[in-house]
Symmetry: C2
């Protein structure tokens, strides 16, 4: 490993001079600059970023905490974060917390110790005050943690209302809602949107709690039909649970969309892969990831942040399940 000292020796200047040309700071004579550049090239020197970090207390790394990259909602988000981070010269460290507070805490600490310049949180099971204590740039993505942390979310409630309305317009008389994990904010918002429309329209409905698991969704759907055979519409809180519901219907020998109509939520590629393809509420996943990263970098680079709360519109994408 060649160091700044080697370069200085080779170019017959001091390390300070080398540092100056490296950072374009202070006055350097043309000759000195050339000598240094030549030395750098010939020795194939690259500054050691750990040493820089130590001095600057900054690492050009950002942390990304998410529940589980294996859940098909997250890869696109992660991709967006990585793309933007990369374009600004930041590198991303990623961590799966499984919605477990312990893991979240461990990672949060570990990343702080690594001097990450900021973190994007797509998970939040820690006491929100825990985050507040720390003076590291943070952004909440698809979660709401505290109004002091810039936040990027979808219009979950509005989307859910639209989905429900759509089922009603498609003539559904009795709608089941496969609710997402209770306590997870976006899922709760969707639940509330569903209830609001169902009540307002005076339609029959029933709900069941699920997780982001296809098997569980299938099972719950089977149960629902046992107790409520009159169900003719399903609003699932995610595309994955919608897929689970479709399996259940297949088993029950119900035709989609003739006997039962389905709307999902997320707009992940899975929806188009299903046969019939899934009507869903499309979120601007990639854009949300971009925005969150932008907000984080703005904070890191001390730029003023105008708005702390960003809600991205959703849109109904009608495909073949309705």
């Amino acid at each position: 490993m060649t160091t700044i000292k080697d370069v200085a020796n080779y170019a017959n200047v001091s390390v300070a001079t080398v540092s100056r040309v490296l950072n374009n700071k202070g006055y350097i004579s043309k000759t000195a600059e050339e000598a240094v550049l030549k030395a750098i090239k010939e020795l194939d020197y690259r500054p050691n970023s750990v040493a820089r970090s130590l001095y600057h207390k900054t690492s050009n790394m950002i942390g990304l905490l998410m529940p589980d990259i294996t859940n098909p909602f997250f890869p696109e988000l992660a991709r967006a974060v990585e793309d933007v981070a990369m374009s600004y010269g930041y590198t991303v460290v990623f961590c799966n917390t499984d919605e477990e507070m312990e893991k979240e805490k461990t990672y949060f600490e570990a990343l702080k110790q690594k001097y990450v310049d900021g973190m994007i949180l797509t998970t939040s099971n820690m006491d929100s005050t825990k985050y507040d204590e720390f003076d590291i740039p943070l952004v909440a993505l698809d979660r709401i943690i505290s109004e002091r942390i810039p936040t990027v979310v979808s219009e979950n409630k509005k989307g859910a209302m639209e989905a429900t309305q759509h089922l009603i317009e498609r003539d559904c008389k009795y709608i089941a809602h496969l609710r997402g994990p209770v306590g997870v904010r976006p899922a709760d918002d969707r639940y509330n949107g569903f209830i609001e429309i169902a009540e307002k329209e005076g339609i029959g409905y029933v709900t069941a709690d699920t997780q982001f698991s296809i098997e569980l969704a299938e099972e719950k759907t089977l149960e629902l039909f046992q107790s409520h055979p009159e169900i003719d519409g399903i609003f699932a809180s995610s595309d994955v649970t919608a897929a689970g519901a479709m399996h259940a219907l297949f088993k029950l020998n119900k035709q989609v969309p003739q006997d039962v109509k389905i709307v999902g939520f997320d707009g992940i590629p899975l929806g188009t892969m299903l046969v019939p393809s899934l009507t869903t509420i499309q979120q601007s996943i990639y854009k949300m990831g971009e925005k969150a990263t932008q907000l984080l970098i703005d904070q890191i680079e001390q730029k003023a942040i105008d708005t702390y709360y960003h809600e991205f519109p959703t849109s109904l994408v009608v495909r073949h399940t309705t």
Copy 2:
């Protein structure tokens, strides 16, 4: 930020002593140890890992280069890597290279400068000699780069042979193979496996080149049926392309599996979500990720590596498309 110096002052010892208790190295008296431990606790001190990195020339970070986390084959792999890394106290930096040599090079350099302790490569478009030059621990995962780099792959060819055999046993007379990206090793191996069995069994066949894109797979399938309407079996080189084929068949009004049977490759969750669910060649994705990470950490920790080449068995999972 509280430093080792603060702890030393608080405990009335020298920084050397603090360092010793931190690392359980050298002799420390009970009293000194207790004083230090108390100081650490009361000041809520955590060692700065950047400073440690600078001294040790190690960062407890590993890099993970993959083509695109958005491709559903990769999240599980990434998850396995992260899980194992985490359990050994390593943190993972992840990068999407899009199979582009430029990005790969950029990331490779960037990570080296960050002192990552090693890298897992699920991508390889750089000249393999480029990797050899560098003396950083490396593991090739789902790719083969050089025999000097420990490698973890699936039995791609064998799996493909089994898939083809299965279609033949299911009475397919004319089989199409949706080939993966030409030049990507696992895809080429699958292609070769297919050809070998098709030739050996003297069955009719045709192939088409695809990428990991559902749309393209659908399009190519449509084209294939135009020129070869007698196709009654499809072996797709990935589950995603299999899904594309299913869409095409839906459009063509062909029944699966009655008119046409399909086998995919990968064994990603998508397969179970499709209706009918997809028969596929299951790879041990998670295990491969684990093994690769283990191999990397062994190298980092200077443990001897017994075998450089690890091939994981695949297995035929029969579901409803055959």
